[in-house]
Amino acid sequence: MIASSHTLRAFGVAGVLLAGFVLLAAKLCVIQTVQHHELAAKAEYFRERTVKRDARRGNIRDATGNILAQSIPVRTVCADPIAMRKIHASQLPIIAQQLANLLNLDYQWVLARLDGSRHYVVIKRKVDEDTIAQIKALKIPGLSFEPDSLRSFPNGQFASHLIGFVGFDGKGVTGVEWKRDRYLQGQGGWREIVKDNKGREIFIFRNLDVLPRDGYDVILTIDSVIQHIVESALDRAMEKHNPKAAIAIVMRPSTGEILALANRPTFDPNQYGKASAEQLRNRAIGLVAEPGSTFKYVSIAAALNEGTIRLDDTVHCENGNFWYAGRVLHDAHPHGLLTVREVIKVSSNIGAAKVALKMGEVALYRYVRDFGFGQRSGVDLPGEEYGLAHPLNAWTKLSITRIPMGHEIAVTPLQMINALCCIANGGVLMTPRVVSQVVDADGKAVAAFPAKAQRRVLTGRGAKAITDALVGVTEEGGTGKKAAIEGYGVAGKTGTAHKIEGGVYVNKYYSTFVGFFPAERPEVCIQVSLDEPRGAYYGGDTAGPIFRTIGEQIARYLDIVPTESAPKPKEGVSVAMLDRMPR
């Protein structure tokens, strides 16, 4: 009886154990078969990670290698308010105060962010590494620091219209940043890693490591020193003449390289959000205005090239009143007989009109188009305007007398200087450019943007003839004598254009001087334009002296050998001593 009872108990225990093992086996089977994929994915999710490796955006450098824009590593400070409250709810005000102090934020705002009911809030973006190190030292749980990058323009507003800036997403918005974004953006990489239970990477299980390819560096044609000379001159011009805007461009005629380009008002690309639309506007390629008398060199160059006139031919300037097609055309000062050379020198409207009449509409229009007016110059910058050059069938009877003096036509400053560069370049029109090449981290060229000739507009003889005439403008008795540079022959043209508001000419002016030097073998071409200067408004009186200041400094910086005799220094005075002499 006792034996039977023990046997029963033994069977009972064995049965329970067996049932337990069966259940366990069944559960194992479910885990290994039914739930296999789900659980394997979950385990993989917690153990394996694909870490994104961001590429650094390339730098923008000037022609001499100085950095004008680069990306620096920063972080975004994020918080998990729910986790923070769980750990130390009572200390939230203290943490908020510490973060507010370090991040220059409002205490109440930070406290409100940390007191939220979300798992993820951004406290501040674009925080530098030094500040991050200070925050990390506080050992605040629930904070995280996400990597980010900040586009830095170490020279502030220097050449800002040309360089442009990048948006919140790290992509170029304007200027070279936008135009060459394809090269500046790098190629991101990634790394597949396995983590241990503490979240640390197990190095031996690193499966894949694809290195990011940083963005290429873009090398500009801009020279920082020349750009600085130009910007300083424009700042002084803004103080002296108080214009609505000022523009200056420096180009190398033989290659079409833009050595400097500056606008006023301007902006700091580090804080582009604070800039107004007026400050952001790149007037050098976006301001379309009647050029006024500067345009005379186009019509006279065309006539000289066609052989319609010669420099010493005479034109009667009707003593300042020329009736044509029922309207009278005036000169600023009455003139009688003038040679073509003198027409340019004293900037006679009537003289220019009569030369154009002799040449004819068809030829004038052809040269206007050939010089690049009414079309984009092809400069590698976004936002370039076409200008306005009416087709021949839209010309009125008066157009032939008005276009040669820069009316009924609208141009951008870049079109104007590029047309003069064409004359300085012996009659060949070049495409203006601001980027010379793109290089990788080792300095090897990835892409090059060489000088590109568009077309021959003038013969060498035609270009020489108009250059001779333009030299007279800066000589005694010329409208641009204030633009003359000691030691160099300067060929240039003044312009003072009435502005149009509401379809009528008003007493506001757009003053310009555009010229190149040395006239014999041109090295640089400079345009200075002032929009609505106060007080003096003639191009020769306002823009001319600025041209001279810029030209003198560039000549010394580029060591352009003088073509005319300069006053000799005293005997026995060395160059080293002269360097220290007061100026």
């Binding site: 650094r56 100085n66 950095i67 004008l68 680069q70 990306s71 620096i72 590593p73 530098d128 590494e129 830095s152 170490p154 020279n155 502030g156 220097f158 990477e201 197990i202 190095f203 031996i204 920082s224 020193v225 750009q227 600085h228 910007e231 300083s232 000691e486 030691g487 003198e552 400094q553 000549a555 010394r556 910086y557 050998v561 003088p562 300069a566 006053p567 000799k568 220094p569 060395s574 160059v575 002269l578 360097d579 220290r580 002499m581 007061p582 100026r583």
Partner: protein, 110 residues
Amino acid sequence: MPMTKWLLVCAVIVTIGFRYISQTNAIQKLGDDIRQHEQRLDALRKRHVVLTDQVAGLKAPRVIDAKCRMWNLGLGVPRQSQIVRVPDPMHLPKAVPAQVASRTQDVRDN
């Protein structure tokens, strides 16, 4: 003899085990070292970029110009009239060597 054989087998297994563990630890340590060096390299690269940015700011012509004026250094490009240009003998006209030759002759005669 069988005892010795078993002991030998055990010793081999234990040795392999120890070797495996020590190798794994060494790999783990190497991995940690590599990771630390990667982090250090990354930090140094970031620091380099920040310092380059500062140098670029300090090298800006505007900044140099302002400092020259602030410290009254009197530095600047000379005027055209302050420059003495010495002609390069390689590019002198052909007549010049003759003059030089005649001067040399004069010196010899004296």
